[in-house]
Every structure is written in C-alpha cells, then in structure tokens.
Symmetry: D2
Subunit: 384 residues, 4 copies
C-alpha cells in the first residue's frame, strides 16, 4: 500500500507567516503528511499550533530536541521521515544536526546557518550520515526557472556573457522592527539573523537563482552594502558587481528599502545568440529576446509541448490557470519527498526532480560572508 | 478537539485534470480531508485513483450510488460530511440529488445540470433538505474579484453604466475531440455536456463574474452563437449584447476558438465616476481608472491594509508572492467548509466567506438556455 | 529642382487641437509645405493663426471660399496643390466639393459628411474630377497595422473567424459640453456633428480598422446604442455585433463614457491557425498568438528585417525609439503627398504607400447611418 | 512679423540615421527652419542631401568651415542663427568652436568631444562668447522625465536613497562593424568615437538621466568594463556602482550586447517615502510606488491636470495619443529655439523650457573618462 511521506516541523507557529506557507506547500500535492511538530520554543504556542493542525497531542512537542529524540523511538513506519526546519536563522544548524544524528532527512530554510563555519560543519555531518538535506531556495522550483536553465543548457542563448539579477523589496523602508513587527525584528537582529539582513535574506536567493539558471559559479564579487534606516543593525541594501566563471559578467541588486516594491525577484541572462528574462511576480512567463527576431513569451502549463519535459513536470495545470509562489514551494517539497521515497526504497531518482541541497546552502553562506566582507572593505573584489 | 471537515468525491479519476485541481484546492489549507470517493464509473479506475490518494479500500467505491448509500450508514463522526461532484455535466444532477436525499451537503461543478428544468428540481430538493449546496464558479473566489465587488458596493465607481466581460480561449480551435482528447470529447458531446459547449463551459463563468462583481442581474441578452469547427456538434463561440437592471449595458464574449489564448477571463466595469479592470491570468492585480487621475493598481496580499477586509481574508501571503488558480478554488473550498462547520455546529456564518450557491447554479442554467435560444433566433433579445 | 508639395488648410485655428496635429504631421517629413489657410470662420482668428504659422498675409484667408477661389488664380507653381480639411463634420462636404471643382486634391477629416447622401454626392464629384481624395483614418497608417494586414494576407492566421475591435474613451463621461469644452460641444451637437457622436467620431475608426486589417467587409450589424449622460443629444456608447463576409463574426465596442480610458483603440483577429492583437496606446508592438506556441511580439523599426517591406516603409527609426500618433498621421500625409506628386508628374504610385480614400469615407458614413438606424430599432440586424 | 528660427546643420547626410531624426525634430513644431547645411565631408553627398531637403544651392556647403565663414557674411536676418552638429564624436569640438567664434549658437550631439580636455576648452570658449550651447541628451526632454524630476523636487519620494539606471541594447552583440555597418563602424573606432563606445554612446545618457531626475551629482563610481565581441577595439558593456551626493547609492548598467534589447533605457529612484519608475520604450507613463498603497501610473497628455505645468508644456496632444522619441528630441529643439529667440530679443527665458547645456556636456566627458579609467583599474572607486 502506498503511504504518504511523513514530515515533522520545527518552527512555524501560528503567529508566523512562513510555517503556514510550508504546510500549504507540503499539503498541496497530497503526498506528504505532517505528523508531528515542535512549532515554537514557547510550549503553549507549540501546542496551540499543533492542535489547530489536528495533530494528536502526543506528536506535539515542546522543543525540537524532545521531538527528535522521541520520534526516533517510534516504529519506523510511524515516525517522521524528514524534518522541515522553518525557524529563524540562528535555529537552523543545531536542529538540523540533531535530526541528522538521529537518522532524519532534513529540509531547511535558508540561509543554512549563522556562519560559514557552522554551515561547513553541518555539511560534513550530512555527508557522513548520507541522509538527504534540502534547502528551501524555492524560487528555483518555479517551472519557468527550470525552463530558463534548460534553454541555456540547450545552447539557445549561445555562450553566455552577462547576468543581471535583482531582488527589490520595500517592506523594510521604515524601521518597522522598532514596532515589534515579528518578521522584521529577527531579520534585523544579528543574534537571530547572523551577519546580514538583506544579503542573507534575499541576496542569497538572487545569487542562487543566477547560478542555477546559468549553471555557472560566481567567482568574484564587489559589494557596496548599505544600511539606510537609522538605527538598524544590519544591512538593508546591496549593489554588487559579479564575475562568473568563463568570463561572464554580472550584477546583483538586492534591497529591502525600495519603497513600493513587493517581491520583484528578476533575472536576465544574455548570451552570444539571445537573452532571457523572468520575473517572479509574473512567474508563468519566460521571455526570449533575440536581435531581429520577435520577442517570444513562453508560458507555463502542462499542455505546452514546446516546454522542456522538466518544466512540464513542475506544472500542475494547463496554461492560463496561473500557478504561484505556493506551487513553487510545493514543487520543492514534492521533489524532496520523491527523493526521500527513493532513498528509503533504494530507487534511483529522476534527476529532473532536483532541489537545492546542503551544498547550495553552504555556498549561500559563503556568498553572505564574502559579500559582507567586501562591503566592509569599500566593495573590494573578493573571491567566492 | 478540532477535526477536519470530511469530504467525499464523485468523479475526478487520475486521467482527468479537474479532479486533481479540486483535491489540491481542498487540501491546501489543511481544513478538509478527503475520506472517500467514487472517482469513475469504471470501478477499476476508481480503485486505482483511490489507492493513489491513500484512501482505505473500504472508502473507495465503484459507483456514486454505492458511496452515498454506504457512507450514510457510517457513524456520523466518520462518514463524509459533504460531497464534491466533479463529473461531466450530465452527471451532476442525479448524484447531487441522491446526496441531498441522504443528508450530505453538496459542492457541485458548473453548469449545475443538463437543463434548466433539472436544475430547478434540484434547487427545490436542496431547499427542502435545508442542506448546503455550493457551485464551483471559482473565479469569483479570487481576492481581487472580491475587491472589485467591494469597491463597487462602496460607491467608488458611482452609478454603473457599462460592463465588458470576455472569456477567450483557443484550445478548441481545432477539432481535437476527433482525436479523443478527453476534455474536448465530452464538452462537445450533447449527451454529456447538454445544449451548449462554449456558453455552458465558459460563458457561464463570465456571466456569473459580471453579476457577482456588479451585484446586478442581466435582464436581457442578444446572443450571436457560432460553431466554427466543422463537424462540431455544439457551439464554440459567442458574442452577446447584455442589458442589466438599472439601465446598465453590457457585452459578453466567450470563445474557445481564439487561437493562442489560454484562459483570458477579463472584466471591465465603468460607472459615473470610475472604472475597474481585472484579468484572471494576472489575478493579483485590480486596476482602477478615472478621468484625469493616475491609474491605480491594487495588489492582493495579506499585508495591504488598503484592501477590504474580505479581500484580505481571501489572501494567504503577503503581496508579491503570487497566488493563482488553485488558491482561488481553495478559497471556495475553505468558505464552503466553514459553512459546513457552522451548519453542523449551529454557528452563524461570517458573510465575508461567501460562495456561489445553487441559486447561482440555476441562474447559470437559465443563462445557457436563454443564450442558446437567442442564438437560434438570429440573436433575438430574450429576457433572462 | 525638387520642391515640396504645397498644402492649404481649412479649419485648424490655434484654439483647437486637431489643426496643430495635422500641421505637425504634414511638417514632420519635410516634404509638404503649408502655403495658405482659412483657419476659422472668424477672420481675425484665421489671421492670428496664419501669422503664428509665419504665413504671408496674402495667403491667410477669411473664408474657405475665398481661399479656394483666390488660390485657383495663382500660378500653378505657386498655388496650393491640395487642401487639408480639419473642420467639424458639418464643414467637410461643402469645402471639399468646392476644392474639387477648382482643381484641388482633397485630404479630409472623417466622418466625410453629415449624411450618407452628402457623402455619395461628393464621391461622384470626386470621381468626375479624377482628383485625389484622402480621408484621415490615420490609425490604419501605423506601421504595425500595416504589418497586421500583411500577415493576414500572407495567410499566417489561416481562414479568419473572429474579429474583436474596441475603442474605449472616457472623456465624455461627464457633460463637459455644458461647460463649453470646445471639442465636446460640437461633437455632441447634431447640427455640427450629424446624427451621431460616438459612432461617428470613434466607431468609424474602429470599423475602418477592422475592415482594413482583415480585408473583409462588414455585411450586417446589430447595434445597441446608448446615451448615458443626461441631456446629451447624441449617442456616447455603442455595443455592436458584426457579421463580415466569408462567415467571419465580430464585435465592435466604442464608448466615450469609459471612465479613465484615454484612447484605447484595440483590435484582435483570430483565424484557423493563429491570432493577432494590436493596441493603439502601445502602437509599436504586434502580438501573434498560436496554440501551443510561444506568443510572439513583433516590434516596429526600420532595422527589423522580419517585418514586411510596407511596414518598414512606415517606420522612420530603428526599434526601441518609439513612434506614435503624430507619426501615424504623418505617414498618411506622406503617402498622400506621394500620390499628389505622382499624379501631377504622371508617375505610377507604389501601392505600398496606401491611404484611405473617399470610398472609405462613404463606407464610414454608411456605417454610421446603419448603426444608428439599428440602434433605433432595438439593435435590429441591418445590412451594410 | 514673426519669423522662424534659422538653423544650419553639420553632418546628417542622407545615408545616416541621426540627421533625419534631428531634422524631423526641428521641423515638428514649425518654429525652426533649416536654411543651410554642410551635411558631409564628401561634398557631392552634401549637395545631394541638401537638394533632397529643398535647400537652395548656395546654402549647401562642401565643408563646415565654408558654411560657418560664408554664413557669417550673410545679412543678420538671413544667416543661420544656430548650428546643429550631428557628426560622429571626433567632429564635434572643432565645428562647435568655429561656430562660436563666428557668433553662432550651437546645439551639439553628445558626447561633447573626444576628450575631457577638449570639452573643457570648448566650455571656456562658450562662456567667453556668452552664446547658447545645447547638448542633445534628448531623453531628459520626455515629458514624464520632467514629471519624475518635478515629483522628486516636490518631496513626493522623501529623502532619496537609491537609483537604478540601466540602458540595455543588443545591436552590437555581433561584430557588425566588420560588415561595414556605418553606425557601428565609427562608434567602435577609437579615432572617431574616442576612448569609449558603450559608456560614451549610451552610458552618458543613463548618467545624465540619473543626475537630471534626482538633481544629485554622482560623486564616485566603480566601473567593471568589458568588450565581449572579439576584435572590437572599444568597450561594449559596463556594470557600474555609483555613489551620489547626500549618501544616495546607485547602479548603472549600459550594454550594447544584450541580445534582443532595442533601446531599453530605464530609471528607478527610491526615497524614504516612495519610488518612481520610467521606461523609455513606453515613455508616456510614470509609475509611482509606495508601500501599502496602490501603484499609480501617471500618463502624459496635455489634458491631465494632475501633471506638473512643465510636464504639460512638453506634451503636444491629449493622453492616449502616444508621443515618442522624435517628440522628445523636438522638445529639446523647441526649448533651444525659445532660448535663441529670447537671447536675440533680450527676453527672459521661462526656466520650464530647460535643455542640457555645455556643462552637461563637459560632465558627460568627465563621466566617460572616469568610468574608463576605473575599468582599467579593476573597477577602482574614482571620484567624479
């Protein structure tokens, strides 16, 4: 008999935003079941959250340590198979390590850790355990991002030359952390967020997107980093020059003070024979541009045979029925759960169901530390 | 202890498209559990589908009759509470009636029935039983459609004057029903679809949207109806003049032969002091236009305090994280499940969680019959 | 030695809007020289206008009759070669007739006359004189409208099926004619505008565009005509069903009460193998849509070799340097002046430099009368 | 009696592109008359061009020196009043200097000279002569660019924080200079273009736009400069970090190898209370963005009373009738000709009719030299 993949969750209490996004994403395709959780360091809040999710009382835990230890003692066909970690940054590495040590696969929010050192240690541990470790850079799970990568790999754009990736947001344009806005408070608090707010929170998404789509690594960067809001302890804006391998030049913009911008992650890539453009806020379209040819707009949809197989595997419905952010996250969960299932049943995995791994997570941490360091040295070029 | 609302499904086997949309929509918010199903008139296919959905064998039924009768005998805290009917048109009314007769609430795909007579009988039955009956005109469950309605009710546009609603699709531009394409086959087959393909399948969505947004009824219509594809048995295109109450004029376009159009449902409404525009394929935005003022673009998102309370209650995440078609359907399921819960627990329902009811379904059937009749009389004006 | 084509102007005093548009359009390409004018029935205003245009005093006339008679007596290499008539509707036919009778080519604003009868008489006269007669349906002079027509003629869309043409404006949403707004006053005054405001002023543009792009004639129409603004003497809104030759169905919307819409003329045409879309307010782009293919966006520009020869001949600059409304009117003037030059020098004309003629003007009048008549008979189908 | 402002032209023969743009722009508003020209260093081509423009033979010159000397001897009410220089870069400074020395106002294409030194000398000369000197950074003459500047000066965005200006083109993605494409040949030839292609040709437009709109000067820059096309002698791509006065950070992208991009100059500016966005290829719209408010789209048009007075003075027609690139250049010519008229008639000039001056030209040269120098030092920060 088929059974769903069993998931536990660390973090994600009711009063947050990201927990419910992860739960919706996990639930969407009906292949994953939330079986337990330690939703908050406040045990009452954890219980309240678990109740609202219809969890049995004995699978709602007061701490992640308790959850991992107790779940590990449950029968193998009952206990959670993987844990999803959706806590603030400072609570990523320890729960992840403990879960690995007790035999659980891990799906962890980005950035992976508070520091590169911490991340590297975690990576070592993960490799020792041979368990699966996913990182929720969900933007690369959109179907048209897959299509962009496929197109580039197919040679459609020729040899690449230039990448422009930008991630403007406006929500931190004012010091809302002073008013106790929860999302803002921990993200601008070095103890909870680490050395960076803007670069860590959204710059890493942009960098991951750029490397994923082009299949090229950033080799050097020069980052001009700013904190515009008075009294803020971490960065809220960055302009960055990039140099990728193979002579590709680039540019990364990430900002949280771009008034009125919601979540406008966008990438443009140009090669010797064409360019592409994708915008997260209108995610079902991919633009192809070529000199002296009409611009083409590719549209996501299960029914579009002109899309790559991988792209179609990341769509659920025909074109014109827009899929969005939750569906992109659900793609990541779906792919990770396929991997868990394959791992446990010793099946080979179709590489089309890819997801970001701990290596991406470590690279993200390296990106953050390098960018912040460059910023402190007046945008000095540093290797990545 | 909270428990999820229990749903059964009629229709929606694996090889279709709409069943999985409904299941994703029902699953998204974690408040509804699929507990049983009669997914196909082919019992093997029903079992196969039920298995893939992890249902226990004894809750997978070979026919809807069996399901309704057996579920009715289960303990009240085990049996399904409502049934979702996602079959082709000719299999709407009978299962719905049987479900009502056995005490189950019904959520039914549109159009409600094969004929207006059938629909009216069903409506009578529903009223006798006092059970809940929803119809899945899901497009009116988008947050920015709620916003449009709220804006108009608030008087933002002044007295209304003109409505333009259009629903262009291109997927039936060629006779794909001849190639056995499943969706096309039953929709163009009078025995399974009823008297109309285009008007019934998408024209009704457009009409429902227009009446919902304006809170005005269409009083008269003049429909020029065409079948462009040779050999097709039902209509695939309609141009329609509309006259609403209170002197409002309108126009409805629905077509399935508009090559290259995916699912471009769009509405524009103009009043004495402004106009609005909403497009389903970019659903998170609502445009307000006024002479000698900048156009305004309202964006969906839980964080936008300028939106109406109802609009925000139909968003899940902050602006810039696009929600789409599945989320709109999930809104309908969420609202219906709230009503079921309120009904069974004798709680009052917040009217902000509205959904289309059997009255909308009957009106849809009246619209179809009137339009087709007008078309047969050279676009004669007929009352609705 | 080359010399410019010499133009006279009737109407177009400084306090209007359209006169200066025509003068800019005529001046743009440097091939036409304004040599005289009777700019207003108020002779002081005519003089004032002529002075501001640097015309010599003896070429500024107090009336169109004076201008035509006196110019006719000037040496053939001095007198105007054609007259541009930019007066309100009631002052089109008489000046045009007088000009023809005195040997001048005529370029006349639309609609051609106050009535179809008047128009037909003028057409007869024009045919007798064999002189050139252009009508300024300038929207069909945009390069991407030429491209649309060329694409359709090339068979790109296959056999045509459906046309949707719309022309929403909002500027007459309020009774601004009561405030003496000049443009509104004459357009809503039956003595100056004729039997129609909306249909005559913008509906004719939409109809001309539809027939030009498709190369098909409208054979029947059913028009629902409204006057929304209290006290207004003519129509300000129309919804119209169309039937073209060859079984093509269509729909025409023209409105002047669509609050907040500037000048949103738009056409969509669908055939058996594709569709096109063009929008006047973003005129340098033409969209091609086809099932299961990426949408294509063609862009105007002299450098785009994928455009038809005719299209490129109606562009002045490379892509990305937007051309607009004045340039479209300038294309019409350029083409008309080429025809004048060819006529006078007995050269053959390149048919790529086409322009609307008096036949289009007569057809426009027929369209107006038919539509208004249909409207008065409750949108009865009438032949055109 | 009013008379037109008399213009001579240096460069702009028929086989180029930019000459005709300038002539159309000068002709559009009917206030400037082309009276003479030295259109090419090839005297036959100059004559041929002059003939085609209907110039009398004695006002068509074989060289700019001849033109300036001979025109200076004509009566003051006959000779040209200003000269428009539309030659390649290496032929800007000398003709400009000679014109100034003979008492003619100068309107010169950018970049102003081959080097900063040359530009500074020219500036000194211009100041000595007290004559008018305009530079054709025409993009800042678009009405909605004026509006952007006005909005920022009015405080709408609050204290500024961040500027993103970009200018992607694709036309030099391939080595078309090898095929003798005229525009490409001189722009990539150091003898004719100076030390830069991309920065000089379009980077300067972007920098001018950024400084004009914000009214802030760039104080430091760090430029990563590339030549992607093999064998090309000058740069074809730049990514640049900017630091403006008052702590504003910025970013400038200019590229000629962005395949498929036509001429996508775009600026975004963010301040403490809002942001704006303008795109040259859709130039009649200006977007205002603010957190938790609907995005607003301002539209150009003489009839929009919400626009600033200066903005409306740079529109010719009501909203919805798009104006474009030629009209922007015509605004610059119009403003310059008003200044010439005011100068010669000792009238004061309305500052709303502004245009870029030789100081902007010198600043542009400084920008080019600084950027290229930074690029040669691995994107070292340099003061500007």
């Amino acid at each position: 008999m088929n059974i769903k993949i069993r998931m536990g969750m660390i973090g994600g209490s009711l009063d947050g935003f990201i927990g419910s996004v992860h739960r919706m994403a996990a639930a969407l395709d009906g292949k994953i079941e939330l079986v337990c959780g330690a939703f908050s360091s406040d045990s009452n809040r954890s219980i309240e959250t678990g109740n609202s999710l219809y969890l049995p009382a004995d699978r709602i835990y007061a701490s992640y340590e308790e959850m991992i230890l107790k779940e590990a003692q449950l029968p193998s066909n009952v206990r959670m198979q993987f844990v999803s970690i959706v806590t603030p940054n400072f609570l990523h590495a320890n729960p992840a390590a403990l879960a690995l040590q007790h035999g659980f696969h891990v799906l962890c929010e980005k950035p992976l850790a508070l520091s590169l050192d911490e991340a590297i240690k975690l990576e070592k541990l993960a490799k020792q355990t041979c368990l699966l470790f996913g990182v929720t850079h969900n933007y690369t799970s959109y179907p048209m991002v897959k299509e962009a990568r496929q197109l580039i790999q197919s040679g459609k754009l020729g040899k690449l030359r230039k990448v422009i990736v930008e991630y403007p947001q406006g929500w931190l344009a004012e010091p809302i952390e002073s008013d106790g806005q929860k999302q803002a408070s921990w993200r601008t608090n070095p103890k909870q967020a680490g050395i960076s707010c803007c670069v860590g929170d959204i710059g890493t998404h942009a960098a991951h997107l750029a490397e994923y789509v082009t299949d090229l690594t950033i080799q050097e960067l020069s980052a001009d980093i700013s904190t515009f809001v008075d009294g803020r302890l971490l960065d809220d804006d960055v302009n960055m020059l990039l140099r990728f391998e193979k002579g590709v030049k680039g540019l990364l913009i990430a900002t949280q003070i771009a008034h009125g911008e919601a979540n406008e992650l966008k990438i443009r890539v140009y090669g010797e024979s064409g360019g592409i453009e994708w915008l997260q806020s209108n995610p079902n379209f991919l633009h192809i541009k070529q000199n002296d040819k009409p611009e083409q707009i590719l549209q996501a949809g299960t029914n579009h045979s002109y899309l790559s197989e991988q792209t179609r595997l990341h769509c659920r419905i025909p074109a014109g029925h827009p899929e969005g952010y939750i569906e992109s996250m659900a793609n990541l969960y779906r792919n990770f759960s396929i991997a868990v299932d394959s791992f446990e049943n010793k099946k080979s995995i179709n590489p089309l169901f890819d997801f970001p791994t701990i290596e991406d997570g470590v690279r993200g941490m390296k990106f953050i530390e390098t960018a912040i360091s460059s910023g402190k040295q007046n945008a000095k070029w540093l290797s990545l």
